[in-house]
């Protein structure tokens, strides 16, 4: 090679490293790189916690918008932005991806998948909750049940694979999770009677490495918790991003409700592994353990809520734990090595169970199942919390969760399976005059005891972020963005963004300054101290 050629090669090499490169090692250490937000929940332990300290209770009143990105077309924006190396990656309705200059919000590239005219999204709106980044690629799941790998530099498609048949009700809305060389992606569609699964794909080639069926087939363990053919349309969506423990090398993934949702007569049995947390080996998808929160669920209480991993001393012994606030109204502490149930307690009003037994199984109250004339139960169908993210602060030892205080009247109805159509067997209605409300609650992470509550006017569809600066950030369904004192729940700052919040906040650095970003209505707002 000539001297010039070598010089060009060196220059090109430098340019290549300057572009987005998020190798697995950076993802693994994401919690130590608070200037970025590299993965959906901030870190594999899923704390949604930023160790940035610039914004504090003393100065947060000076928080102001720095820039706003407006999504061009109508549709709910449920994205968690990813921020890496000067670029913010966001997703919009209809599985669209935008790469923005993080300093100004100006668009660098867009990816707009062509979706079929007869696209089906049964049981959820046409949303997307975020991308995953790994190496020089950006990964997104699409409504027509595909996983797409995009070039981080330009948005060009590297590969695209089909996860399932959208005509049968499969879709993807969750942010994928990138681990070492692999992309893990879940599917939606239990309301259409899919048989759910979790997949792993080779990040370079798009080859499927394994598939874990959330509803076991004949011969597979757990199959005997279904009768007849009901397993074929058993549901079990995997539609939220799980957590990962690199030391134990275990993935933790929540699994959704069985189908049909409200008519359990056609599927007697516990219906594993619906409404469960599964611990899987990422190399093979082998199930190491599972814990079922709501056996034979008939209230649509998906257990997809984010599993939060912490290490703590329990009863004098250091334990590796997984914490989760379930849709069914109970907060759980499990051992994440074995799935052993350690603690469980209600964190919201619930009228369907007289507590949990020593194994964590709910003691179901008779007469709380859906019925033809309607059965009034707390929590509502959407649950005491829903898809949005909780946060954990190692500083306060508190688990923060957005709570929905609402009841439903549950109806049982006909359930006739037709591929690609609703398969729910009933539904819900609101008791008249009931004004549901919401709250951000801070629970002691180990006991689940509520330490404080900040009430929201209406039940939220948004999650929370905790920071080392001592704050909890969130949004409301009436357009408020707010900051609370993480120790006391006192509201310290709020901003009216003009559109309901249906997303989770993140924090990162721009030019050494701490910023907080949150999708509000049809826009993404970025705030910093004035």
């Amino acid at each position: 090679m000539t001297t010039l050629g070598r010089a060009v090669a060196v220059c090109l090499g430098l340019a290549a490293t300057a572009a987005a490169q998020v190798p697995y090692e950076r993802l693994r250490e994401a919690a130590s790189e608070p200037g970025s937000w590299l993965t959906y929940s901030g870190s594999y332990a899923a704390h949604r916690f930023s160790s940035l300290k610039e914004i504090t209770p003393a100065n947060v009143a000076r928080l102001r918008p720095v820039w706003v990105y407006q999504v061009g077309e109508a549709g709910l924006v449920e994205t968690t932005p990813i921020v890496a190396d000067g670029v913010m990656y966001v997703t919009e309705a209809r599985s669209r991806v935008a790469a923005l200059d993080v300093r100004t919000g100006r668009t660098l590239w867009r990816y707009e998948p062509e979706l079929p005219k007869d696209l089906r999204f049964l049981g959820y709106p046409p949303v997307n909750r975020g991308v995953a980044v790994l190496d020089d690629r950006v990964f997104v799941g699409t409504l027509d049940a595909h996983l797409v790998a995009l070039d981080a530099l330009s948005g060009a498609v590297r590969w695209r694979v089909q996860l399932g048949d959208n005509a049968a009700g499969y879709g993807s809305t969750a942010a994928p999770l990138a681990v070492d060389g692999k992309v893990i992606i879940g599917v939606s569609g239990a309301e259409a009677g899919i048989r759910g699964f979790l997949d792993a794909y080779d990040a370079q080639t798009g080859e499927r490495l394994w598939r874990f069926h959330t509803v076991p087939g004949p011969g597979e363990p757990g199959h005997d918790t279904w009768s007849g053919d009901s397993w074929k349309t058993g549901g079990g969506s995997t539609w939220l991003t799980g957590a990962y423990d690199p030391e134990l090398d275990l993935l933790y993934w929540g699994i959704g409700n069985p189908a049909p949702d409200w008519n359990g007569d056609v599927r007697p049995g516990d219906n594993l592994y619906t409404c469960s947390l599964a611990a899987l080996e990422p190399a093979t998808g082998t199930l190491r353990w599972h814990f079922q929160f709501t056996p034979h669920d008939t209230h649509d209480w998906d257990a997809n809520q984010i599993p939060v991993l912490i290490d703590a001393t329990v009863d004098g012994r250091p334990r590796r734990l997984v914490l989760t606030a379930n849709r069914n109204g109970f907060y759980y502490v499990l051992d994440r090595e074995t799935g052993e149930f350690l603690r469980g307690t209600p964190y919201a009003k619930q009228t369907w169970a007289d507590g949990l037994d020593s194994k964590g199984r709910p003691i179901v109250r008779p007469g709380t199942d859906p019925s033809e004339d309607g059965t009034l139960v707390w929590p509502s169908l959407q649950g005491a919390t829903n898809w949005t993210s909780p946060a954990y602060s190692p500083g306060t030892g508190l688990f923060y969760v957005a709570v929905r205080e609402m009841a439903s009247i549950y109806f049982k109805g006909e359930a006739e399976y037709k591929p690609g159509a609703y398969f729910m067997g009933g539904g819900e209605a609101q008791p008249p005059g009931q004004e549901g409300w919401g709250a951000v609650r801070a629970l002691d992470a180990l006991s689940g005891e509520m330490k404080w509550e900040f009430r929201l006017l209406s039940p939220p569809w948004s999650g929370v972020l905790a920071t080392a600066g001592g704050l909890v950030f969130g949004g409301s369904a009436e357009g408020n963005v707010f900051a609370l004192d993480a120790a006391t729940g006192e509201p310290l700052w709020d901003f009216q963004a003009g559109g309901p919040c249906r997303a989770n906040p993140v924090s990162f650095l721009i030019d050494g300054r701490q910023h907080v970003a949150l999708a509000m209505g049809q826009a993404i707002f970025v705030f910093a101290l004035h």
Partner: protein
Amino acid sequence: MKRTPLFAFVLCAGAVALGAQEEAPKALENPTADDLARGRKLFDAQCAGCHGIGGTGGRGPSLTRAKLRHASDDQALVDVLFGGVPGTGMGPVWQLSERELVQVAAYVRSLGAVPPEVLPGDSARGRELFEGKAGCTACHIVRGLGSGLGPDLTDVGARRGGSHLRESLLDPGASRPELAVPWEPRSFAAYVVVEALTRDGRQITGQRVNEDTFTIQLREADGRLLSLKKADLASLEKPPGASPMPSYRGTLEPAEIDDLVAFLATLRGE
């Protein structure tokens, strides 16, 4: 106590939304007695909370008319159930199976064959009361005349049956109008009475125009707008069952109530 049954339906669009998928089912051409019976049972359980038993109206409009505003023919009525009416409290009825949905539509259509209510009372005398002794124009607009503090009543007779109109006069706090808003619970109780005490000791009574977690916007009795931060309030109460509208029980004779109801029933908009 409300005479309407316990249940009301509000779409939980957060969990479920009808999107770009199959079209609405075909309306039943010849509904059988069984279809109508099933439709009625479903209606009473899941629709009557807003529309009243027998579709006579309540928080939602009366359906006992041959011509429904959003449903000119049988298929249009099925379409309303399938897709909802955007901008109102009527969302898509996602939870019924196709068969159940067309049965409910057939039942609703049959309500139009019910002969119109015969109301006692003289609507001409009712109009005099409305504009005179009852003082309604101090808070209500009809055909552009009156005051906008309370709901516009120009088409209230098309939307509400006789018993609901009577209830509004005798027990206005029992059933408040609702506005559709994009957040849960999707029907935002309108004309809610709010009593607040500011931190510097000022007592405020007004009706709520809007509210979020941190602020509330009120209108006082004289129409003045107050925009308040909840952090500036020592207390904020919404007395249940209260209404900015007074009850006419005792202030008007029973015959006068009948006359007013008869007049309101004639207000059917354009």
